[in-house]
Structures are given as structure tokens and as C-alpha cells.
């Protein structure tokens, strides 16, 4: 049934661990799978209800035209970005410790992008007309820029996940045997594209992975900037801000790295990857997260200071509701629990334990989702004439759909790792082999010096 260590050959233990989710996912797998699947199914049903009843069931109103779905759109696409960037930057800087976590980061980037992108459809009043974005686009519209940027980035994340997978798929093709089942074997045969690890193939692959790792950085920055610009291309207070592009990018990175920490920790525990992923990985990720959190804090401070200091009528009202008005508990809650505590947990030596770092990640992810609500809601409900504020209702439809989308991320990852190894095998073995010192001592001493 299961490929034995002997069948895996070289690096057997590592390969067995990486393929464990494919072969024997564990007794918990199907119950968890069913629970997450049920959440997604309920969300799909809620969306069906929304289609029948109209968007009002999601808590919108004319004085609150954007709300939870738009925050979800930004938040979920944001975390995708962090996954891609961590992997790309660590690849380009040749950080060898990255090898065991890149696969999970890249898969998370893909899944959360698909989930986040779906909110671009869920929030529409007429989703059945979305094809018009292709057939009659109006090029000056930020939403058309979004469509172009997100679809390009989706293609890039797919490639970025796939290319480093090729050698691993070849391992699966060669080693898993008939026990993997007909479907998987066909899948591996096709997707391994005849990889035999020849030097020429390896050279081409390395070049391609390097190229896509470089490409995906500007692409990811573009995606999130354009998403920010959809807000800041309006004259609304709180949105019409020159800082919004980079502000969104940093927020995305911060939440993305945080989710990488959470995802890696969850799958490490579920699939017993402790021998390959240890505390140093989490410490390194948490440090990156802490730096990004600090930059986000700085951006937030900068925005609040410049708008709050000049206090033009409309901008001042947004600053006021955030700092001392109806949104103040959420805002200060985010500042403390969403930024300061995660930074502290990440950097203080006393909390240098996996569980505290995971807690920091969870706080940062949830906090950044809240922050996206704090970006959409005050401005979308602020009056432009007069002083009557609108309000968004947190309806069960919006909540269920949001929960379903959240559940879809682990669900999607669980499905992906039923087919592909959870660890980047080839990269890890390559990293190991490069770290092994050459057997210098076995060379005849001074053999060349004599000449």
C-alpha cells in the first residue's frame, strides 16, 4: 500500500515524511476535511441565498456601500502575497533554511489568492455579467486594472508553485508505485514532464525558477497596489491617499508572513514534520514578520499624523472615529493586539517558543483582517454631505461566507498536499548536499602543490 523506505531510496526518511500526506494522511484527516468542507458548503449555500435575495442580505446599504466582502477581498489576497514574497525573496537571497517551508508558502499563496479573488465576484450585484470585464473593459477603471493584475498574478503563483515541484513530481512518478492509484500516477506522469534530473534540465529549471521568483515580486507589488488604488482613486476621505499603494503592500506582506507561520505550524504538527521544521524556522519567519509589522505601524502613524494634524473637515472625521469614536475600540485593539503584541512575541527572547510565535502569527492575521475592515467601513459609511453616518450590519450571510472562505484555505492546502509532497524535497536535498563539506581530508596532501 505505502511505499517503503527502501522504495524511496536516497533520502528515504525525508521522502517518506514529505509524501505522508499523500499516502497516509492520518486518522484526523477525513473528519477535519469533512468539517472544513461543511463550512465551505454552508458558505456556498449562503451565497446562493444572497444571489436569490439580493446583496442587502450581506448587510449593505446605500450609506454603507462597501463593507465585509471588500475587507475580505483585500485581506485574503493580502495573505497570498506574503506567501509568494517570502518564498521568492528567500529564494533570491539564497536563504537555505527556506527549503522546508517554500512549498507550503507557495501553495498557501495560490489557495488564498483564489479564495480572495472570489470575493471580487461575491461582492458584485450582477456576478453573471462579470465576463463584461473582458468583453467591454473601460481601461481607465481601477477595477479593470485589478482584473489584469490579479489574473496575471494568479498565473504567476501557479507557475511559481509548479516549477520547483517538477523534480518532486518526478520522484513521485518513479517511487510511489501502483499504490498511489491510477489517477495520481497519471497526474505525476504528465506533470513531471519527463524530468530525469539531467544537468541540462536542472540548469533550465534553476533559470526558470529564478526568473519567476524575480518576476513575482513586482507582480505581487502590482496586485496589491492596484487593489489599494481602487480605493484611493476616489476622492473619499480616508481612501484618497498617496500612501495607499505601499501601505497595502506592507500590510499584505505582514499578514502573509504571519499566515505562513500559522500554516507551517499547523501542517508541521498534523504531518509530524518536526525533524525538518524547527524553532529556528519560526524564529526567522517571526523576525521578518516583526520588521514588517514595524513598517506597517510606521505607515499607520504617518497616515494618522498627516491627516489628523491638518484636520480638513472630512479627513478629520475619519481620524476622529478611528482614534476616539465608534471605531476606536477596534482600532486600538488592532494597534495593541494586532501589531505591538505580535512584534513583542516575535522579538522577546522569553517568548522564543513555537506556540508563542504561532500566537503572534494568529494575532497578526486576525488583526490585519480587522484593520481592513477599519479601512473600508469608516470611509464607506462617512457622510460626504451633512453629518449622518451609515452603518454596516454584520449579517449571518456575510459571517458564514467569511468563515467558509477562511475554512477554504486549510481545505485547499489539505487537498493540494494529497497530491504533491508537502516539503520541497529536491530543494532540501540540494541544500543539504551543498552544506556537506567536501571530503578535503581524503585528497592526498600537497598532491597538487608538488607540481
Amino acid at each position: 500500500m505505502v511505499a517503503t523506505a527502501a522504495e524511496f531510496g536516497e533520502g528515504a526518511a525525508l521522502r517518506a515524511a514529505a509524501f505522508r500526506p499523500v499516502q497516509t494522511p492520518g486518522r484526523w484527516f477525513w473528519p477535519v476535511f469533512a468539517a472544513l468542507g461543511a463550512l465551505v458548503a454552508v458558505a456556498a449555500a449562503a451565497y446562493g441565498y444572497q444571489l436569490l435575495a439580493g446583496l442587502w442580505v450581506a448587510g449593505y446599504g446605500d450609506a454603507a456601500f462597501y463593507g465585509i466582502y471588500e475587507a475580505n477581498l483585500v485581506a485574503f489576497i493580502g495573505v497570498s502575497y506574503g506567501g509568494a514574497l517570502v518564498s521568492a525573496v528567500l529564494r533570491l537571497t539564497n536563504a537555505r533554511w527556506r527549503a522546508p517551508i517554500t512549498r507550503m508558502a507557495e501553495a498557501m499563496a495560490l489557495v488564498s489568492l483564489v479564495v480572495g479573488g472570489s470575493f471580487a465576484i461575491i461582492h458584485l450585484g450582477r456576478p453573471e455579467r462579470i465576463w463584461q470585464l473582458v468583453t467591454r473593459p473601460q481601461a481607465a477603471s481601477p477595477i479593470v486594472w485589478d482584473v489584469i493584475a490579479i489574473s496575471t498574478y494568479l498565473a504567476a503563483t501557479l507557475i511559481f508553485l509548479y516549477l520547483p515541484l517538477i523534480p518532486d513530481l518526478a520522484i513521485a512518478r518513479d517511487r510511489l508505485g501502483p499504490s498511489a492509484g491510477r489517477l495520481r500516477r497519471a497526474f505525476y506522469r504528465v506533470t513531471a514532464v519527463g524530468w530525469t534530473a539531467t544537468p541540462a534540465q536542472r540548469q533550465r529549471l534553476n533559470w526558470s525558477v529564478g526568473a519567476i521568483a524575480i518576476l513575482i515580486i513586482p507582480l505581487a507589488i502590482t496586485v496589491h497596489s492596484v487593489l489599494a488604488w481602487a480605493f484611493s482613486m476616489t476622492s473619499r476621505p480616508g481612501w484618497h491617499s498617496t500612501i495607499f499603494g505601499p501601505y497595502f503592500v506592507i500590510g499584505a506582506l505582514y499578514s502573509g508572513v504571519a499566515l505562513v507561520i500559522v500554516v507551517v505550524a499547523a501542517f508541521r504538527k498534523a504531518y509530524r514534520l518536526e525533524p525538518y521544521i524547527g524553532l529556528p524556522h519560526f524564529v526567522s519567519l517571526a523576525r521578518i514578520m516583526a520588521v514588517l509589522g514595524g513598517v506597517y505601524l510606521y505607515f499607520t502613524f504617518s497616515e494618522m499624523l498627516t491627516t489628523g494634524y491638518v484636520r480638513t473637515r472630512e479627513e478629520a472625521s475619519i481620524v476622529a472615529v478611528l482614534l476616539e469614536g465608534s471605531f476606536a475600540p477596534a482600532f486600538w485593539g488592532f494597534m495593541i493586539a494586532g501589531i505591538l503584541i505580535p512584534i513583542a512575541l516575535s522579538l522577546v527572547p522569553a517568548t522564543r517558543q513555537v506556540r508563542y510565535l504561532v500566537l503572534a502569527g494568529v494575532l497578526a492575521v486576525v488583526g490585519m483582517w480587522l484593520k481592513r475592515l477599519l479601512i473600508t467601513l469608516p470611509t464607506a459609511t462617512a457622510p460626504l454631505i451633512g453629518d449622518v453616518w451609515g452603518s454596516v450590519q454584520f449579517t449571518w450571510v456575510a459571517i458564514v461566507i467569511t468563515l467558509g472562505a477562511t475554512a477554504a484555505i486549510p481545505l485547499g492546502l489539505m487537498i493540494i498536499f494529497r497530491f504533491v509532497p508537502i516539503l520541497a524535497l529536491d530543494e532540501m536535498m540540494e541544500a543539504d548536499s551543498r552544506e556537506l563539506p567536501q571530503p578535503v581530508a581524503e585528497q592526498p596532501l600537497g598532491a597538487e602543490g608538488v607540481l
Binding site: L55, R129, L133
Partner: protein, 283 residues
């Protein structure tokens, strides 16, 4: 931030300075054209470009349907705030005759306070901006400018993204969050010029009663206004009327210190307001 900005009146009503209205459905400013070029170049995608080309020659374009070969107008509206008593008959007439759901106040009467604390009423309809932010952000050209400079919505094309609502500085746009319960008694085909019944999941707004003014009839809000506070006019013909008196538009605007809402945003509204007698305008 001020809602009204006082600038030299001669600047505003100098007709020679106002741009001419073209025939195309969506007039592109130079900035829009640059943006469009940049976006198209960045796309590197044949699909959108192809679509843009096809769209230019779309015979089903609403602006080319049922339009008589009349000379183009440059419609303008003037609201005399000195006369508005806040009775909301304009809102009621508009809603009744366009069969609008109650929350859709295409002309909405705000009760505001000026800096002295005195209350005043301000009816707000679509400003039909010459450089309309809503038109610029619409991803599918569902909202467009007709040849007379009116900003209209084709609800058959609207995808319901609501970015136009975000972009509009005047809160003039409404969304059909649910199936509209109010419908015309006879089953009629809704058009951008008479969008009744409203379509669920799309955006609706004031059409300046283009269905009336095109045929020499008055807008419903104007007809309903017992105070004579609302004027409709044509910047080219330089006349305006509130139904009982006719004024020379340019001198009416300049002599009464007419202003436009949020002038600083450069949207160039086609709706002017005549504020009260020497009141402080910075509310």
C-alpha cells in the same frame, strides 16, 4: 473641507471656457486617455484591447438609440437655496414618477447648518459632472455621458461593483440592494433615459429627466417645486426656467453668486446653487 467654494464668478459662467460636448458616448479627457493608454499598454493582453475596439462601434450602444437629430444641448440646473423650504415635494414627485423604491432619493433634500448654526435646506441631485469621477471608474462603461452632457447608467450593462458610488463626491448614486418593489403600472422596457423599473444589483441615479427635457418638458422635481427654486437651462442657449419665469442663465448665475458643490474636486458639475443672502457658506 468646504462643500462650497467661492471663486470669481466670471470664471464660471464664461461659456467660451467650457469645453464643447462631443458626440461620443464616453468623452475621454486627455488624462483619461493617458490612463487608458497606460493601462492598455500594461495589460499586454489582446482581450481587453479587442473589447475596447469592438465597443467603440457597438450599434447597440444606448446613446445611439432613439436619439433625434436635435442640436446638442448643454443642460444645466440651478437651485435657488433662498427659495427652498425643504418640503421634499421634489423628492416625492421624482420617486413617484420614476417608480423608485423609497430609499432611492435621486433628488435628496439635506437639512444642513451653516457656521452660524442656522438651518437651511439643500436639494442634491446628480451633478452631471463634465469630468465625472463615476464615469471614469466604471469598469464596463455602464455609466456614460450622453451627447448632451448628461451622466446616465445603462442598467443592462452594470455589473454592480459600486466603485462609482465610492467615486461620486455627492452621494448621488444608489444601489438596488434588493428587487425593487415599485414598478411602472405598464410593463415597459427600462432604458438608460427612463430606467424604470430599476434593476436589482445595479446602480441608479438622477437622469435629469432626460426623457422629458429632450422633448421640451420640465423635470418632475421642477414641476413639483411650489417655491420655484429649481431651474433647468441650457448653457449654450443661455436660458433657464423654473416653469414660471425665464432667466438669462449666465447673468442669473453671476448676479446671484452661484456656486457649485465641491468646486475643489474639479468635477465641473452642471448644477449650480444660489446660496442665501450673504450667509456664511462654509458649513
Amino acid at each position: 473641507m468646504r462643500y462650497f467654494t467661492l471663486t470669481a464668478q466670471s470664471d464660471r459662467v464664461d461659456l467660451a471656457e467650457l469645453p464643447q460636448v462631443g458626440d461620443s458616448a464616453v468623452r475621454m479627457s486627455r488624462r483619461q486617455a493617458l490612463l487608458a493608454l497606460a493601462a492598455a499598454g500594461g495589460a499586454l493582453a489582446a482581450g481587453p484591447l479587442l473589447g475596447a475596439l469592438v465597443q467603440g462601434s457597438d450599434p447597440a450602444d444606448p446613446t445611439h438609440q432613439g436619439m433625434e437629430p436635435l442640436p446638442p444641448r448643454r443642460w444645466a440646473m440651478v437651485i435657488d437655496l433662498r427659495r427652498c423650504d425643504g418640503c421634499k415635494k421634489c423628492t416625492e414627485a421624482c420617486q413617484a414618477k420614476h417608480y423608485l423604491p423609497p430609499q432611492q432619493e435621486w433628488i435628496k433634500v439635506y437639512t444642513l447648518r451653516d457656521r452660524t448654526g442656522a438651518e437651511f435646506n439643500m436639494p442634491r441631485l446628480c451633478m452631471h459632472c463634465e469630468d465625472a469621477p463615476c464615469v471614469r471608474v466604471c469598469p464596463v462603461t455602464a455609466t456614460f455621458v450622453d451627447r448632451d452632457g448628461l451622466v446616465l447608467v445603462d442598467q443592462d450593462k452594470c455589473i454592480g461593483c459600486r466603485l462609482c458610488m465610492a467615486a461620486c463626491p455627492y452621494e448621488a448614486r444608489y444601489f438596488n440592494w434588493t428587487e425593487p418593489k415599485t414598478r411602472p403600472p405598464l410593463p415597459t422596457k427600462a432604458t438608460p433615459e427612463f430606467p424604470s423599473p430599476q434593476q436589482r444589483g445595479t446602480v441608479g441615479k438622477c437622469v435629469l429627466c432626460v426623457h422629458n427635457i429632450k422633448f421640451g418638458q420640465l423635470p418632475y422635481c421642477l414641476e413639483a417645486c411650489t417655491m420655484g427654486a429649481i431651474y433647468i437651462g441650457d448653457l449654450d442657449a443661455d436660458v433657464a426656467t423654473n416653469g414660471t419665469e425665464t432667466v438669462r442663465l449666465s447673468s442669473f448665475l453671476s448676479e446671484n453668486n452661484a456656486i457649485r458643490l465641491k468646486e475643489e474636486l474639479n468635477t465641473k458639475p452642471r448644477v449650480w446653487y444660489i446660496p442665501g443672502h450673504g450667509e456664511d457658506l462654509e458649513w
